[in-house]
Amino acid sequence: MVELAGTIKVISKLLRDFLVAEEYAYREGFLQGVDQKVKLMAILLLIVLAVSTQNIFFLLLLFLFSLTMVLLSKVSLRMYLPRFGFIPIFALIIVLPWIFLMPGQPALTFIGLNVTKPGIMYVITFTLRVTACVSCVSLLLFTTRVSDLLHTLKSLKIPSPLVDMFGLVYRYLFTFLSELERMLLGRECRVVSDQGLLKNWRDGGNVVGNFLSRTFYRSENVYKAMRARGYDGSFKTYPRNDKIGKKSIVFMALVGIMVGIWLVTRL
């Protein structure tokens, strides 16, 4: 059988993270008021700038820029930073050996190995780049409603059936997480002794198979219910703020300044 406690922990974390982000997306902050298309394209541009530079100053500035946006958007840093903190730590652990491996002038000696200056610079640059990128992506997660995101994707000419599929995945994920949790709890209640790893795995496979069967079964019912409510093959999405207001212009100007700094650092 699959590990119940671990699974419920994962499901709870996913739901908690999502609900926290969704709550902030409904606040009246700075980025929440920016046109969604402008926000998505600008954040993508900022990430592209981060990926295409080696300049530590720019990467640090970009990270501070994203934190400033977080504060202006009334998002708590206590909620924001832990959400993505493990990714930069993971990146740091992966590239840390390069403080020894990178050839160059030794900066210091540690347990008989030379720590080189280019090695230190590389590790700092890489970790800072990943940090700045995930921080920028998290801006999008914390300040964008899913309905707005789907509308933006449609307005960016992503084919409608594909965006409808995204919407369905999002809409029914929570239904299925709840169903999965019920199935696992029901199964746990009926098992009174440890069955051993092999039997656990076989039962786990049956649970997944049964769960997938229910998924298919439900899709038919969902389609009938959607038809009954007037679904004609495409979901309607509606813009919340379809004009580029003051906040959008200010955000574009700020991003423009970041682009300018990026250009200067490349000279």
Partner: protein, 211 residues
Amino acid sequence: MHIPDGFLDLWICAVMYLISAMVIGYSAKKLKDKLDAPQVSLIGIVGAGIFAAQMLNWPIPGGTSAHFVGGAIAGILLGPYAGCLSMVSVLTIQCLVFGDGGITALGANIFNMAIVDVFVGYGIFKALRRYNQDVSLFLAGWIGIWLGALAAGVEIGVSSIFAYGLMTTVLVMGIWHGALGFIEGIITMLAVRYVLIKQPDFVPLPKEVRG
């Protein structure tokens, strides 16, 4: 296996977006006659189910646990084209709503988990099913995810912003996901066998799979 932003060079991101967009377009074209409202709802809802099932914690000896990706399962139960679109939906929502995987790396992540995993898994199942269904399912899950991981290793390895060389990244991803893929293979075998044997009426399998 989701690659975050900052691990891949921009040109690799662009190439992977292009390749993924072409395969998605081709899949949609192959489904054109069938990509109607019921099919869209089936693909989206099965995607939600696979996303939920990815949360399951599978205990492995040593006190740790693993998760599965489900690309081969999607390819076998929905057919390769619909399975690919289903996994694309899952990965896009994971990226844009839950922050799993980077925006610039989304094309690469789609290629690894929604294209390689799905099409290779389906291809192996189709080719070997006539010899032994269980073995074909196991190999579909295992090799599908293993090749997907190797593709990720190549993408990261050829990126100049990642200092480790191609051999290192491919070796690390190959060994690690070769071991984890074993679990994916077992789950794929157990879950799909259950569906095919116990509840075939619930699942409108593609005609290639029905045989």
